[in-house]
């Protein structure tokens, strides 16, 4: 891709600024180095903490383990061990889902590599039954133009011998035959 040259000063509206004079002569030669591609990678050792550990161990058993805010009663998932609203520790573990409701979504028409489904696919927010906040995921087993806010869904898990302590245990979500939840009930839970 070629660069777009800076607009010459003569086209600037009156009263704007002048181009600074370079402090050294600019001569990049015939073949200036404009880009170097340097691959880099990082390895992380992740310490999830107690609440997230419980959540991840639950995922390995195909269960969603949230934690309850002692003040508001809202169940957070994934839990961080603290309520984002009250700031208090969440001490009570609560299993939520696995059935859930779509709180909103978009239809993605651009490819996002090996981790995403073939296009077009639906990227959505899923509110597990009993939880106060939604999880991200993708929809399967339904044409993208039939996905709705309020649609009832369930997770489709990887095969049991593939289960790990990872969100990647959820392959995708699929519709279930239950009536939609009115969208007004989902405000504040996206």
């Amino acid at each position: 891709m070629s660069s777009e040259p800076d607009r010459s000063i003569s086209t600037m509206p009156d009263g704007l600024w002048t181009q600074p004079t370079p402090s050294v002569p600019v001569d990049l030669g015939d073949d200036p180095v404009r880009r170097q591609v340097v691959p880099a990678s990082m390895r992380y050792d992740y310490t999830p903490g107690l609440a997230t550990t419980r959540f991840l161990r639950g995922l390995a058993e195909k269960r969603f383990l949230g934690e309850r805010c002692p003040q508001t009663g809202d169940v957070y998932i994934p839990p961080r061990g603290v309520s984002p609203v009250s700031g208090l520790r969440t001490t009570e573990q609560v299993e939520v889902g696995p059935k859930a409701t779509i709180t909103s979504f978009c239809v993605v028409h651009i490819g996002f590599g090996v981790n995403a489904p073939p296009t077009p696919f639906v990227s959505a927010l899923f509110l597990p039954d009993g939880a106060a906040v939604s999880l991200y995921g993708t929809m399967g087993e339904v044409p993208h133009d039939q996905v709705r806010i309020g649609m009832r869904v369930e997770p489709v898990w990887v095969d049991d011998d593939q289960l790990t302590t990872s969100m990647e245990n959820i392959r995708y979500w699929r519709p279930i035959d239950e009536p939609d939840v009115p969208a007004e009930q989902l405000k504040g839970h996206m």
């Binding site: 891709m1 660069s3 777009e4 040259p5 800076d6 607009r7 086209t11 600037m12 509206p13 009263g15 704007l16 600024w17 002048t18 181009q19 600074p20 404009r34 880009r35 880099a40 992740y46 999830p48 997230t52 991840l56 805010c69 508001t72 809202d74 957070y76 994934p78 984002p84 609203v85 709180t103 909103s104 979504f105 978009c106 239809v107 993605v108 028409h109 651009i110 996002f112 590599g113 981790n115 995403a116 990227s123 959505a124 927010l125 106060a132 906040v133 999880l135 991200y136 993708t138 806010i149 790990t164 302590t165 990872s166 969100m167 990647e168 969208a183 405000k187 504040g188 839970h189 996206m190």
Partner: protein, 390 residues
């Protein structure tokens, strides 16, 4: 507003483009810095302190550039530090710089914000798999599009609103020589027919990825008056500043009309004595990376009742000929070096009240709002600038 008076006396922008590989990063920043200093009739020797902001490092593949930029930015022997607040960083950086003057610690502060989107992939940086976290598989658009869908559902806004915003901003960009996208042939139909990326967001309703930088010179009252006397250009006086944050995930959190945005606006208006923003504000530069965020933020910032923001777009109020021009510069939809985009909004607001916005000047603009948001719609930064002293 708390503290001593502070004003913008210098604004310098680079030409924004998809790729600015004609200059190094220090060269890019100096292009903005020298223009800002020229505008202020100052040199680097006059500057007391430097505050910089850029995109999150993994959006750029560039770690801690401030450490090697000290000499290029004239910071040797002076304070230099960096502000981080994701996409709102340009706005927050300008506000942190302003507090250095409001506090009385410094008289002339240079603030700079930038990004080179060309050296990395912000969209994919947001989408790589992290096994122990939820994965966002579809970039920033995939994150924000569901909230746009929910806005459309709640407000019953017609589909064409997003297209009208994109058309307005891209046509405004033709009047801004620094804007990245100059698309003279763009039409309502060409936007409507452009590729659907994250339904309901089309390609032409999406911000580009840009390289570029902006620099502002902020000055105390005495320093601002001296600068204006020398340059002949009036200062943009800061009438109010506010920042707010909210949790990434919380029950009751509404990302369609976030509390933090409402509170940020209420605070900055109160400082500036604004009780009716629709009538009292002459021009707005707000952070609109996807077209539908114009009506959403018009409501969030109190320019329209909830559910009615799209009517201001539809009836032309937000065009340059309307009573509340929004993003005369072309906005984020035409230029998006993410780390700089917030400060560009703040700088463009200052240009308007100084009468320095060239072809996209709103005649007689006296009060302007600059706005930025960032993160998962989590961080908000605003200022109100005026042609009169507060």
């Amino acid at each position: 507003m708390a503290g001593n008076r502070v004003a913008v006396v210098g604004v310098g922008q680079t030409k924004y483009a998809a790729v600015r590989d004609d200059v190094s990063l220090p060269g890019l920043l100096r292009e903005a810095v020298f223009r800002a200093l020229d505008d202020a009739h100052m040199t680097m020797d006059d500057i007391d302190a430097i505050v910089v902001g850029k995109a999150p490092d993994f959006f750029e593949g560039m770690m801690m550039p401030e450490s090697y930029l000290a000499e290029a930015l004239g910071a040797v022997g002076k304070p230099l530090f960096r502000v981080h607040t994701a996409g709102s960083v340009g706005g927050s950086t300008a506000l942190v710089a302003a507090t250095h003057v409001q506090s009385g610690v410094h008289d002339r502060v240079l603030t700079i914000a930038w990004q080179q989107q060309s050296v990395s992939e912000a969209m994919w940086a947001l989408s790589f798999p992290i096994p122990f976290q939820q994965q966002l598989v579809a970039g920033a658009g995939g994150y924000f599009a569901p909230f746009i869908r929910e806005y459309i559902r709640r407000s019953n806004a017609p589909d064409e609103i997003g297209i009208l915003v994109a058309l307005k901003d891209r046509l405004n960009a033709l009047k801004n020589p620094y804007a990245h996208l100059h698309e003279p042939d763009i039409t309502f139909e060409s936007i409507q027919e452009s590729f659907m990326l994250w339904e309901p967001i089309r390609y032409s309703e999406t911000c580009p990825g840009s390289d570029g930088a902006i620099a502002l010179v902020l000055a105390s009252e005495d320093a601002a008056e001296a600068s204006a006397a020398s340059s002949g250009v009036p200062p943009a006086w800061v009438h109010g500043t506010a920042m707010r944050s909210e949790p990434a995930t919380a029950s009751g959190r509404d990302q369609v009309n976030p509390d933090a945005g409402q509170e940020c606006a209420a605070d900055v208006y109160a400082q500036a004595g604004i009780t009716d923003p629709r009538r009292q504000v002459d021009v707005v530069e707000m952070y609109v990376p996807f077209s539908w965020y114009e009506p959403m933020w018009l409501e969030n910032l109190g320019f329209a009742p909830e559910g009615e923001g799209w009517r201001l777009t539809e009836d032309g109020s937000t065009q340059m000929t309307g009573d509340l021009p929004v993003n005369c510069s072309g906005g984020v939809l035409s230029t998006n070096p993410i780390g700089a985009s917030g400060m560009i909004r703040f700088g463009e607001a200052a240009l308007q009240v100084r009468g320095q916005a060239g072809d996209h000047q709103i005649d007689g603009a006296r009060v302007a709002v600059g706005h930025a948001y960032g993160g998962a719609a989590q961080f908000y930064a605003m200022w109100v600038v005026g042609s009169e002293k507060p």
